[in-house]
């Protein structure tokens, strides 16, 4: 038997959710401010550099030149063209003089105050949000992912946590507006469209597979959320890089803060690979659970169909990355299509399609 319901805890949880959403909103504004301010600053630096008759690539190129110091048996002089890890950065910066953030997404030396404020605010929001999730769990006496409201609030929490954790190692603050924006949308959708009071689970969901299957699904989805943001930015960035390389005007100045399209693609590939493994587990555990609950591990129920479609699309994405002519923009589109399927699976399939998975709590 499940634990009892505690409605007071449920109300605390809602209060925390509201506070968290508010804090996220402030963080969102700070991230947007950072984008605006930094792009202005970068443009100013550019202008100065142009006046000084130097191009942005000089300092980086110097680093490359230094490589000729070592003794060499057969080192040719064209080393700068070697597409190695250290020169790709220079190439990216060098193409048409546009500036993008550091390709390796390491933190740069200079401090971006608004970005720091934004991250601090996001951290605060995540703490409050975490309290909301925990009180929800206490209120319902079970894991906090048993209906749409809980999937959304807990999912948004995971998205934010994954984002903050990745910030420890990489400077992904340029994703801030995007990610925090999505988190806010999820929280608002949860409270407006899917609000459900704390309650017991329907028997169909009373299984430890709920804990395993759904937590992995939500975690993978939050990783897909990050890569979706990156792929979208990648498309914009690659368009911008092309425009600028062709001598066009750089209208999207704020994108200077965003790494090159190639760096975005590589990092999102790595995250997508993890998320794909997660999704494979989601699919498998779902099948095992379906076997336990309904007596067949696969029955092409609408939810199963869409989980399969998502899996196949991301398998296609991984293939595309190894198929000539399909890397870059096309792969990014596949990643975006995959995420659209994730969103579709979660929203439309859960609410409008009726299948065996009628657990949305509506």
């Amino acid at each position: 038997m499940p634990f009892g319901i505690n409605e007071t805890m449920g109300q605390y949880s809602e209060l925390f959710m509201l506070l968290a959403a508010g804090t996220y909103t402030v963080a969102f504004i700070a991230f947007a401010w950072d984008l605006a301010k930094s792009s202005k600053a970068l443009r100013a630096v550019d202008l100065k550099a142009a006046q000084a008759g130097a191009t942005a690539k000089v300092p980086v190129a110097a680093g490359v030149g230094a490589g000729s110091a070592g003794g060499r048996l057969s080192g040719p002089a064209d080393r700068a063209e070697r597409p190695s890890s250290s020169t790709a950065k220079a190439n990216a910066a060098g193409s048409g003089g546009i500036v993008t953030a550091d390709g390796d997404m390491k933190y740069a030396a200079e401090r971006r105050v608004p970005a720091r404020v934004a991250v601090a605010l996001t951290t605060l929001a995540v703490l409050i949000h975490g309290a909301g999730v925990v009180t929800r769990a206490l209120g319902a006496g079970r894991v906090p992912w048993g209906n749409m409201y809980e999937f959304l609030t807990t999912g948004a929490f995971l998205v934010a946590v994954v984002f903050l954790v990745s910030l420890i190692r990489r400077d992904l603050r340029f994703l801030g507006t995007f990610v925090v924006g999505l988190v806010i949308i999820m929280m608002v959708a949860a409270s407006v469209a899917f609000w459900t009071p704390v309650g017991h689970l329907v028997p169909a969901l009373q299984s430890y597979w709920l804990v395993i299957h759904v937590s992995i699904a939500v975690l993978s989805s939050s990783l897909f959320t990050l890569t979706f943001a990156m792929s979208a930015l990648q498309l914009v960035q690659s368009h911008r890089q092309k425009t600028v390389a062709a001598g066009g005007a750089d209208k999207l100045g704020f994108m200077r803060l965003v790494p090159s399209a190639l760096s975005l693609e590589n990092l999102s590939y790595r995250i997508n690979a993890i998320a794909f493994i997660g999704w494979t587990f989601t699919l498998m555990f779902g099948a095992i659970w379906a076997e336990k609950a309904w007596g067949r591990f696969w029955g092409w129920d609408t939810k199963e169909v869409w989980t399969f479609v998502i899996w196949v699309v991301y398998a296609g994405y991984l293939h595309a990355r190894a198929t000539r002519g399909w890397t870059g923009t096309r792969a990014a589109w596949l990643s975006i299509v995959g995420y659209c399927c994730v969103v579709f699976n979660f929203t439309i399939v859960n609410t409008l399609f009726n299948g065996l998975h009628s657990y949305s709590g509506l």
Partner: protein, 589 residues
């Protein structure tokens, strides 16, 4: 494989060659086949088929599907006169067994086999052959570095290459030293063969999953049965209410076990406001016997917790109330006595009841109506069930007499009574009125047709019984696939070459280069690690090592290795006429 087509061209006469050049079909039937095969097994086709498969799976979620619910399909076709039939002819109600869906996945799997087999052979050879020859210009590799061992260290070129070989072997590389005593000794090393093995295991296991699923469909079976408290199910063909055999099913497969429903308990939510009265726990107490002579065993059957018996699994899939009635006919004899399964219709177990009494004399009797566990009547005289539990059980019925038509041979739905040929006895609009019964009460039918008593209420459960011999294998293959996938994504396949030589002033010069096959964002990290190993081995001062390495091995830029995507290494393969064999990740043409 496109090379093979080229080879063929070269063999033919110059004229034919020119023709082949001009028009592809001149390849001849064999060439065409080969060309088609090459196309089918290319990465591009695999990608295309994968995306097509994703798209083709979608309609199955948009339209009702026959295997899931045939009645919905019939209804849908009725509701959509204009295009309902057309969709049917396009097999859109049987998407996952349709010709087009099958065609896509079969093509995909043929492509898969055509892809995996040659790759497996090639990889087997690669695992047994020596690392590729040392490229002429190591500096063109994506990771490159040099070290200088001072003349007074006393490490000649040949010693240096041997100690480098030792270090690399320890690190898991397979190493071959070349020209050890020559002027420019070198070594080639390679590691990460498990990456490709993982990839092959992954793809092969997908075939295994598919075959297991197909086998389950061939040899499995499933069925349904409704059990009222006290009923016993025996696993024989007649024991099932509905039975779906697989194509190769034999009745002898059924082990005659039995399962008796002793008691069925439901716990309702009495705590939360929003979900008040929702069921939160179903538990069926059952007594099972593996076979007629086996000892009886009591088990609990729950949702998400099937009972396994005689190679089958028994699942709790439905439940409801079964009012117990006694019906006496016009002659005063008991024509029927026992529980009647009421079919769920609305909230709070509002259920419909159909009772057919073919044994009633002189006239057969029929009853249609509703069962409400907690009956409530609104001021508008609409009755509804206010609670799922038996607080005020009520049976409201209309009655009929006449020929029920059960002897006509046409199969009848037990949940429906065809009243067209029957004469009504009780109904609201008749003088006699409808029948309303509480437990323990009896109603007398008009015209001396008999009586009906409502004796009490039992619960019933619906169980699904499944036997799928394929699913264990499907699980094993799926687990293998995941293991392969993880290996394939996280093992890095790398090649390292080192070359040493002696400068005029006696210093030993060392250069090394690294190359990844496939995605490898840690190649620069590996380069740095190797550099450190070498420097420690030859006791080079750290700063000297760093100075020489200033371009790429500075730890600060290590993470820049993300910048070494497959595409970059691909450039290398394109620009260097390296003797190292295929260098970049294997990409399709």
């Amino acid at each position: 494989m496109s090379e093979r087509v080229n080879v063929k061209k070269k063999q033919s006469t110059p004229v034919a060659g020119a023709k082949a050049e001009a028009a592809l079909p001149a390849l001849g039937p064999k060439g065409m086949l080969r060309w088609a095969w090459t196309q089918l097994t290319s990465m591009r086709t695999a990608l295309f088929l994968l995306l097509l498969l994703a798209v083709a799976a979608v309609p199955g979620s948009l339209f009702p599907q026959r295997p899931a619910n045939p009645a919905n399909v019939t209804q849908y076709i009725k509701d959509h006169q204009d295009y309902g039939k057309l969709l049917d002819s396009l097999q859109l109600y049987d998407v996952y067994s349709s010709a087009w869906f099958s065609a896509i996945y079969l093509l995909l799997f043929i492509s898969l086999i055509g892809c995996v087999v040659p790759r497996a052979i090639a990889h087997y050879k690669a695992m047994r052959s020596q690392p590729p020859r040392t490229p002429q210009r190591l500096s063109r590799l994506p990771e490159y570095g040099t070290l200088v061992v001072p003349a007074d260290a006393g490490i000649p070129a040949s010693d240096a290459i041997n100690s480098a070989a030792g270090l690399l072997s320890k690190r898991g590389y397979r190493v071959e030293v070349r020209d050890a005593d020559g002027a420019l000794p070198s070594l080639g090393a390679e590691r990460g063969f498990m990456k490709e093995v993982g990839n092959l295991v992954f793809h092969t296991s997908l075939i295994g999953v598919l075959v297991s699923v197909a086998a389950g469909g061939l040899f499995g079976y499933s069925g349904q049965r409704i059990l009222v408290e006290g009923d016993t199910f025996v696993n024989t063909l007649v024991g099932y209410d509905q039975f779906n055999p697989g194509t190769n099913f034999q009745p002898s497969q059924l082990q005659p076990y039995s399962l008796q429903l002793d008691k069925f308990n439901i716990t309702f939510d009495r705590e939360s406001k929003g979900k008040f009265g929702q069921p939160i726990d179903f538990a069926a107490t059952v007594t099972t016997k593996e076979n007629p002579d086996a000892p009886a065993k009591q088990e609990i059957l729950k949702v998400n917790d099937p009972v396994n018996l005689g190679g089958t699994s028994i699942y709790l899939t439905g439940n409801g109330y079964a009012p117990v009635v006694t019906i006496r006919d016009g002659n005063g004899n008991i024509a029927m006595q026992g529980p009647v399964v009421a079919k769920l219709q609305g909230d709070n177990y509002y259920s419909s009841v159909v009772i057919k009494v073919p044994d009633a004399k002189p006239d057969q009797l029929g009853f249609v109506g509703f069962f409400l566990p907690t009956a409530f009547v609104t001021d508008k005289n609409v009755s509804f069930s206010a609670d799922p539990e038996l607080f005020n059980p009520q049976l409201t019925l209309n009655s009929y007499y006449g020929d029920l038509g059960l002897n006509s041979g046409a199969p009848q739905n037990v949940f429906e009574l065809d009243v067209r040929n029957l004469t009504p006895l009780n109904a609201r609009n008749l003088a006699a009125g409808g029948i309303t019964l509480a437990p323990g009460s009896t109603a007398t039918l008009p015209d001396g047709k008999g009586t009906i008593s409502f004796d009490g209420v039992k619960r019933y459960i619906g169980v699904d019984i499944h036997h799928n011999p394929g699913q264990v294998y499907a699980l094993v293959f799926a687990l293998l696939a995941v293991a392969g996938l993880i290996l394939s994504l996280y093992v890095n396949r790398r090649r390292v070459w080192v070359r040493t030589g002696t400068a005029a002033d006696g210093r030993t010069m060392v250069e090394y280069g690294l190359l990844a096959r496939g995605e490898d964002h840690r190649l620069a990290g590996e380069a740095a690690a190797l550099r450190e190993l070498f420097a420690t081995e030859w006791q080079l001062p750290a700063d000297a090592a760093e100075e020489a390495a200033s371009d790429s091995v500075d730890p600060g830029t290590t993470a820049g290795s993300q910048q070494t995507p497959s595409r970059t290494s691909d450039n290398v393969a394109g620009s260097v006429s390296t003797p190292a064999g295929p260098t970049g990740p294997e990409k399709d043409q």
